[in-house]
């Protein structure tokens, strides 16, 4: 249970808020490269951490991210003209370069100094992998560029999607941290477990362990960049099947692998306090994704959603009750009645309300990961606010991490048993079951 002021502290990310300041210490995924597909393409509106911005790609190929509104009278530069080296407001022709610096103010040609004094707030926007990342913090403290494995393997080994989620970022992150829900929410099918029906999950021995042991034991261990959340289920011969989810501050999780399938994970990036982008990546560290796999991802299998073409809004959303199928729910084909892992998550997380009231929850032992994550976030936010302490998670040492699935003897602590299996190492296969 969180008291109201702590709930506010953890959920509010606008400018000047303590959690907003924390988020601004990190590169965040902002746009898919598809959204600015070529030099000189139309600009895109971006709302990030409650700031309204515009993203451009100049004819020279330079990426820019700046305040959405012209410095003159507040017109949205979404309607601007992308021209050489920048964007020109159509109202009176004020032109800005990719850094938001005014480079032409036609009515003030006699005053050559005027331009120099006009600059829109702007942030670096860089391409790493198939994503454009932005950093909204103090330029003097800019962290290294993202080094996550999914974004740095060759292009053919990785696929990333995004969808709009109409709820606060934290309740979405908490879903990613809590793996006890998998057995229920993502369950179903004649085999009793919906995972077997999904082409991106089927065929792993782990699915059987998931099905047979519906009461996993959770062990949460602190690591440098966040937490390692271990879910332990019974395997044979007195061994345990561990599925370990790393959480890296503030908003990254990675789902443990199944078989040789690509492994996936998420970021939940605040748009404002009531909406977020759910980014889902899928990658394989040592081979290309197959055409079948990519087609499945594009069709909304695995952790990806089927979106309305041309948008990032899922087809199944809150306006149509996520197309819930009560027949399938009753027949147990889908435990939740909602199709697709991504939408199963979104539907419930959005149903909690835009910002869930955490004074009303009744947590149980399997929520240990959530409780610890809230504590760690709260401490990081307060340390930054009160002492200027740099938070963890924005350096390569914390980002080069993998999730793990493994069978271990019962007396082996999972962190020790996995060892280097947690590290993202080029050319080294996943630790999986």
């Amino acid at each position: 249970m969180l008291r109201p002021d702590i709930n506010d502290l953890l959920t509010q990310t606008g400018p000047g808020t303590p959690m907003g300041d924390l988020f601004r210490r990190y590169w965040q995924p902002v746009l898919h490269t598809d959204e600015l597909p070529e030099d000189g393409c139309p600009p895109v509106r971006v709302k990030l951490l409650s700031e309204r911005l515009i993203a451009v790609r100049t004819p020279e190929g330079e990426y820019g991210l700046m305040d959405e509104f012209c410095a003159h009278r507040g017109i949205s530069l979404f309607f601007g003209r992308v021209e050489n080296e920048g964007i020109r407001c159509p109202y009176h022709g004020w032109k800005y370069n990719a850094n938001g610096q005014a480079i032409d103010v036609p009515s003030e040609l006699n005053n050559s100094e005027f331009c120099k004094n006009v600059k829109l707030r702007s942030y670096p926007l860089v391409k790493v992998g198939d994503i454009l990342w932005a950093y909204l913090g103090d330029p003097e403290k800019q962290p290294p560029l993202p080094t996550w494995e999914f974004a740095t393997v060759p292009e053919r080994q990785t696929y990333t999607s995004k969808r709009l989620q109409e709820c606060n970022w934290l309740q979405a992150l908490e879903g990613g941290i809590d793996s006890s829900h998998v057995t229920w929410l993502h369950g179903g099918g004649p085999s009793g477990h919906g995972l077997e029906a999904d082409p991106l999950f089927a065929g792993s021995k782990g699915n059987q362990y998931n099905k047979n042991d519906v009461k996993p034991f959770f062990e949460v261990v602190e690591n440098e960049g966040g937490l390692l959340i271990g879910a332990r289920r019974n395997a044979e011969d007195g061994n345990y099947y561990w599925r370990v989810t790393p959480w890296v501050l503030p908003n990254f999780t990675m789902v443990p692998p199944r078989g040789d399938h690509p492994v996936h994970g998420h970021f939940w990036v605040p748009i404002d306090d009531e909406n977020c982008w759910a980014w889902s990546f899928d990658y394989h560290p040592t081979r290309d994704l197959t055409e079948t796999e990519v087609d499945a991802m594009k069709a909304g299998a695995g952790v990806h959603s089927k979106n309305i073409p041309g948008t990032y809004l899922p087809v199944a959303n809150k306006d149509n009750d996520y197309l819930i199928d009560r027949e399938k729910q009753k027949a147990g084909i889908l435990f939740s009645g909602v199709e697709g892992i991504a939408i199963q998550d979104s539907s419930l997380q959005e149903s909690m309300g835009p910002v869930v009231d955490r004074t009303k929850e009744r947590l149980v032992a399997t929520d240990a990961g959530i409780i610890k994550a809230r504590q760690k976030l709260r401490r990081a936010v307060e340390a930054l606010r009160d002492n200027g302490t740099e938070p963890v998670g924005n350096v390569p040492e914390h980002q080069k991490i993998r999730s793990v699935a493994i069978v271990l003897p019962a007396d082996r602590p999972f962190v020790e048993g996995i060892g280097d299996g947690f590290l993202a190492r080029e050319g080294v296969g996943q630790t999986t079951v």
């Binding site: 008291r3 109201p4 002021d5 702590i6 929850e361 409780i371």
Partner: protein, 108 residues
């Protein structure tokens, strides 16, 4: 039967005959002592049974466990060295006379 004393916010005391093995939250809730809710039924999952343990009993009762401390830290507005969650204090004969002050929050 050991007694547990609940100190009211107005200074008044409420004495409860407790059972050995019962916890401080349960003894309060079944006796109608105000200020202790026990929403999660003693599962160490809420923070609605917060009490301050009187000085003379603190050594005997001991401090909170790790999860208990996390819940207190995130859930209550007056977490002090005397804080415990009532559901985590088991009553014994040695604790006869245990005196605690319920610390409800405004939104309970």
């Amino acid at each position: 039967m050991p007694k547990v004393v609940y100190v009211g916010s107005d200074g008044s005391n409420r004495e409860v005959d407790a059972n050995v093995g019962e916890n401080v939250m349960n003894a309060a809730v079944r006796s109608g002592v105000p200020g202790i809710v026990g929403e999660c039924g003693g599962q160490l999952s809420c923070a609605t049974c917060h009490v301050w343990v009187a000085d003379e009993y603190r050594d005997c009762v001991g401090g909170p466990g790790e999860m208990e401390a996390d819940l207190l830290d995130l859930g209550v507005s007056d977490f002090t060295d005397a804080s415990r969650l009532g559901c985590q204090i088991t009553i014994t004969d040695e604790l006869d006379g245990l005196t605690v002050e319920p610390r409800p929050e405004a939104w309970h």
